[in-house]
């Protein structure tokens, strides 16, 4: 039962009963009934009834003469015949002719109501031309409902899959689509360091970028974010522009600026403070890592003005939206 509730929760419905109710209105008797029936003629003997019931392990048989439904014979009728030791008498002597029927195009809900109201175990289902089409029990209805639920669930799953972006940026269409994410990074704020990069990474994954691309962008952005925390006088900003073919991340600040950019880019060179080193940074690998992760990196810096690091990442063609 709990499994069913999970299923409904995943379909976005609150009340399981609502769906069941809808289905009982939607499903036709003909779609859940047992169509291949064992029938018997009104002139057959009750002994034959006993044999047929035993052979097919059934408790009721419709009585049909020339395709026309005449009645129904049940185990109770057979017991009456046995009590009277009248197994050689014809079916017509014992069968029930007051028939409870359903129409083949009737909703299952109506059939279910009739089963409840009359207390009978089965309904005989008639065609438009009043010929016997099949038989309907509560078991048939339950099985039919479960099958329909399964189909409805599979359908919902398929829809959910189709609504998710299959390719990077597939869900957004324009002549020039781009998404811009801006973050403020504060100096010496190691507690929140990495939040901007984490959010950019999450955004990329959500709009369909591959884990590999998202990781490259995240690592480079994270190094740049840490640089803003460690080296700036007043923090800075990270701006990520996400386009279908390229991701551009810019980290900029307003000082102090790098006196020798080429030197700063050398592996192992660092001017990081003691605090930064305690936090696990200052290995002099930041710009090296950025350069390794990005497809292109540009650094512009002027002492007393500020620094601007631009990182560009190409979206692999197989990942990009096909249009």
């Amino acid at each position: 039962m709990s499994q069913q509730f999970t299923l409904f929760a995943r379909m976005g419905k609150d009340l399981p009963l609502t769906i069941l109710h809808e289905l009982t209105r939607e499903l036709k008797a003909s779609s859940v009934m047992t169509a291949e029936l064992v029938t018997i003629s009104s002139t057959d003997s009750m002994r034959h009834v006993k044999a047929v019931m035993r052979e097919h392990r059934i408790s009721g048989i419709p009585v049909v003469d020339d395709g026309i439904l005449k009645g129904v014979i049940s185990v109770e009728d057979l017991i009456r015949a046995l009590e009277r030791q009248a197994l050689d008498l014809p079916v017509s002597e014992f069968m029930t002719t007051n028939l409870i029927t359903a129409h083949s195009e009737e909703p299952v809900l109506e059939a279910l109501k009739r089963l409840e109201e009359t207390g009978v175990g089965r309904l005989l289902v008639l065609n438009g031309d009043e010929r016997l089409a099949g038989m309907l029990t509560k078991g048939d209805i339950v099985a039919g409902l479960l099958h329909a639920l399964q189909e409805a669930y599979a359908h919902a799953e398929r829809l959910a899959r189709e609504n998710q972006p299959r390719y990077f940026f597939d869900a957004l269409v324009s002549d020039e689509t781009s998404l811009i994410l801006r973050y403020r990074v504060r100096v010496n704020d190691f507690t929140h360091g990495g939040q901007a990069s984490a959010k950019i990474k999450k955004a990329l994954l959500q709009i369909g970028a591959s884990p590999q691309l998202s990781r490259r962008v995240a690592i480079a952005t994270y190094e740049a974010e840490i640089n803003l925390i460690i080296h700036t006088t007043d923090g800075g900003h990270i701006v990520a522009e996400i386009r279908p073919d390229q991701i551009v991340v810019v980290a900029h600040d307003s000082g102090p600026g790098i006196p020798d950019v080429a030197l700063a880019c050398q592996p192992g060179y660092s001017t990081a403070s003691e605090l930064a080193r305690e936090m696990g940074f200052g290995a002099g690998m930041g710009l090296v890592n950025i350069d390794r992760c990005a497809d292109e990196m540009d650094i512009w810096s002027a002492v007393g003005v500020g620094t601007r690091v631009e990182m560009r990442f190409d979206v692999p063609p197989e990942e990009a939206a096909t249009g």
């Binding site: 995240a218 690592i219 840490i226 592996p267 305690e278 696990g280 940074f281 690998m285």
Partner: protein, 121 residues
């Protein structure tokens, strides 16, 4: 290597259970986050003595599923909360960096292999 095997090898403790049943392929040990970021791979175990939120952030950026702290240094609750929120496992080893790494290597968890020797200033 499964979390159970790691814990057995280092006689350690699980502080935050990994979100999924992870199986790390190799490990990298360092206290400097930039070193880790330079070599990070998915399905890699991070072994570090840096008890800082940045260790968790570094793992998050580089898709490393587990961070293993050493020398029995218990990280602050805020770190564990962040790891739980992101879905990164946190383990604790009572051994030093050297012995933690040695025990994992002996138990069959490989590292990065031989790297080219580069001149640094």
């Amino acid at each position: 290597m499964k979390v159970d095997d790691i814990i057995r090898a280092i006689e350690g403790e699980i502080l935050v259970a990994p979100a999924i049943d992870v199986n790390v392929e190799r490990a990298f040990a360092a206290d400097l986050m930039s070193d880790i970021l330079a070599f990070a791979q998915p399905q890699m175990l991070m072994v570090t003595g840096l008890i800082s939120i940045q260790a968790i952030r570094t793992a998050e950026m580089s898709d490393m599923p587990i961070v293993l702290f050493i020398r029995g240094k218990r990280p602050p609750q805020a770190l564990l909360d962040l790891a739980r929120e992101i879905g990164i496992g946190v383990l604790l080893s009572p051994y030093t960096m050297y012995e933690t790494a040695g025990r994992l290597y002996q138990a069959g968890l490989p590292g990065m292999g031989k790297l080219p020797i580069v001149q640094q200033r």
